[in-house]
Amino acid sequence: MAKIIEQARIISQERISGQILRLRLHSPEISGAARCGQFVMVRLREGTDPLLRRPFSFSRIYPEDGEFEILYRVVGRGTWLMSQLLPGSSVSLVGPLGNGFELPIEKTAALAFIAGGIGIAPLLELIAQVISDRGAKGLENLRLFYGARTAAELLPEDFTRAIGIRVHFATDDGSFGFHGRITQMVEELTAEEDLLLRRPHEVYSCGPLAMQYHVARWAISNDVLAQLSMESLMACGIGACLGCALPAQTPGEPQSERFVHVCEDGPIFSAGSIKWNKILVQQMPPPTWVFN
């Protein structure tokens, strides 16, 4: 569907825990066209502070109600303003944007969902769609691996239980679940025979850049398909400013210097399409006077 500007009405806003909130919006056109993994650009306020729209994934989509949800974490000015939105007020949206996840074609495939922190947001809708595709049976080989820095940053238990598939928790500090990196947990657990996940058919992940890097490495070395939801700072969200670039891998041309744009080519990328070493080991070039 064509991208549009739509004025959305706030249906509800609730604090899930700590700095994580959930916003439900009435936006019939965008909700009707949205696919999981896509996002909207939200104008949190008229005026110049903040100036730019902020990108948020669809965490749940209810096309028949003309509504969708955003699950978000307050990290700065824009998300703080978002947390102050009251039911009945309205915000301007641009969407639906980006490519979205591709759902698995095979209805019985073992799938691993990997979420770091608020990266769980786009996976919630994806998991809901996979569950409704499969019906009650065949959920055993769906697993959510969900990690955060510390227990307090995880969503509460009743929330994660309601997702409907088995969840394996990890925290960096060991305060809950597996102690260590989420990808270490994935490696250890998928090595276990009884998990039916010895070799997941496909991995879907969203989370901090460092986590995504480890997921990509794990997926590539285990020859598992991965769909990663990537982030970048964005100005337009529609492919016009070219600001949301990530270094791209061109098959057969390791030396080629090329960028993908998260808002247009993504936000969902395969593990092999990003030139990871050019992100994490970023050399600061000498300043030039080439802007724009």
């Binding site: 064509a2 991208k3 549009i4 500007i5 104008r43 110049t48 502070d49 903040p50 100036l51 730019l52 729209r53 301007s92 641009v94 970048s232 700072l233 964005m234 100005a235 337009c236 529609i238 492919g239 016009a240 400013c241 070219l242 600001g243 949301c244 670039a245 990530l246 270094p247 210097e257 090329r258 960028f259 050019k278 992100i279 970023q282 600061m284 070039p285 300043p287 030039t288 006077w289 080439v290 802007f291 724009n292």
Partner: protein, 332 residues
């Protein structure tokens, strides 16, 4: 000022003559903020724009700068995109046909690493159907002169404009950088070398840092500031340039609303370009056109050209009459 309160209902004439270029209204998109036009086609009817100025084009494709390329700053943003673009060949074969078929005037923004490259680009665009004008971005480093930015030196600016002028019969616009001591000197040089029009401003050289990571916020360290924060700088630059050259000037910088656009027209810009606003409201350009039209109607102005440059800088002393003299004599 031409005023005709009697016919306030009639649509005012928004047409402007920019030297050799006739536009149906004075509102265009600014280069680099509107992609190649198509990106905005689902938000507005592109045919309503005075013109579409496309992303800067070079002879060969350019990958651009490493990320992060953007950062938001108070009432503005910095960008260091690095002039990423598809190159002139792909522009002509893939991007231009869409706009040409719509019939919207297309202004092609060009840049090069050398004076010769500017000339070659203009020659390559010459004769391609559907191009209304060429806009020269002189805010680029001259690789043969140690990276000195063309547009910061009158002599280099004039060489670039000459090279383009020789290569094309299309109207030529020179787009100036504000990062100079005297923008009117550069404007005169560009005009003297045969530029039909001047547009300004490009982004303002700027930087942002993060005190926690102790790193610059942009991989390129420096970036170009745009958005509402630059509007007062842009107004001052346009005001100076309008008075320095004898050709029409296009005002750019921080235009978010019809009011902002009218401010530039008031000080003598014959047209405007809208940049950063497109990111925040993709329908900005059309809303600005509608706002200008409403303003002219309310003010009873039938022809926009009678508003352009009508700024009154004369001194007003409303109380300097005889009664003042009486008060004065009583006090003294």
């Amino acid at each position: 000022m031409e005023q005709n309160p009697g016919s306030a209902d009639a649509s005012p004439d928004l047409g402007v003559q920019l030297g050799p270029l006739r536009l149906k209204n004075p509102v265009m998109s600014a280069s680099g903020t509107f992609g190649y036009g198509e990106e905005y086609s689902s938000f507005l009817d592109l045919r309503r724009l005075g013109a579409v100025v496309v992303k800067g084009i070079s002879l060969t494709p350019r990958a651009g700068n490493p990320p992060p390329r953007l950062v938001e700053t108070p009432a503005g943003m910095l960008n260091a995109i690095g002039l990423e673009n598809v190159g002139v060949e792909r522009f002509l074969s893939i991007k231009l046909p869409f706009l040409r078929d719509l019939g919207v005037p297309v202004i092609v923004n060009i840049f090069g690493n050398t004076i010769e490259e500017y000339g070659e680009l203009a020659a390559r665009l010459e004769g391609a159907p559907g191009i209304a004008a060429i806009e020269i971005n002189v805010s680029c480093p001259n690789v043969k002169k140690g990276g000195m930015v063309f547009g910061t030196d009158p002599a280099m600016t004039s060489k670039v404009v000459e090279a383009v002028r020789r290569a094309t019969v299309l109207p030529v616009i020179t787009k100036l950088t504000p990062n100079v001591t005297s923008i009117s000197e550069i404007a005169k040089a560009a005009r003297g070398a045969g530029s039909d029009l001047i547009s300004c401003i490009n982004t303002v050289a700027a930087m942002a840092v993060d005190i926690f990571s102790r790193r610059p916020r942009l991989a390129n360290i420096f970036g170009g500031l745009s958005g509402p924060a630059v509007k007062p700088v842009a107004l001052r630059c346009v005001y100076e340039v309008v008075r320095a050259v004898d050709c029409p000037v296009i005002g750019i910088g921080g235009i978010m609303s019809a009011t902002d656009a009218l401010e530039f027209l008031l000080i003598g810009a014959c047209a405007v370009q809208v940049g950063t606003a497109n990111f925040i409201n993709p329908a900005s350009t059309v809303e600005i056109i509608e706002g200008i039209e409403r303003f002219l109607k309310v003010e009873g102005i039938t022809d926009i050209n009678s508003y352009i440059g009508s700024l009154d800088t004369g001194c007003l002393f409303p109380f300097a009459d005889d009664s003042c003299a009486v008060i004065e004599s009583e006090i003294l």
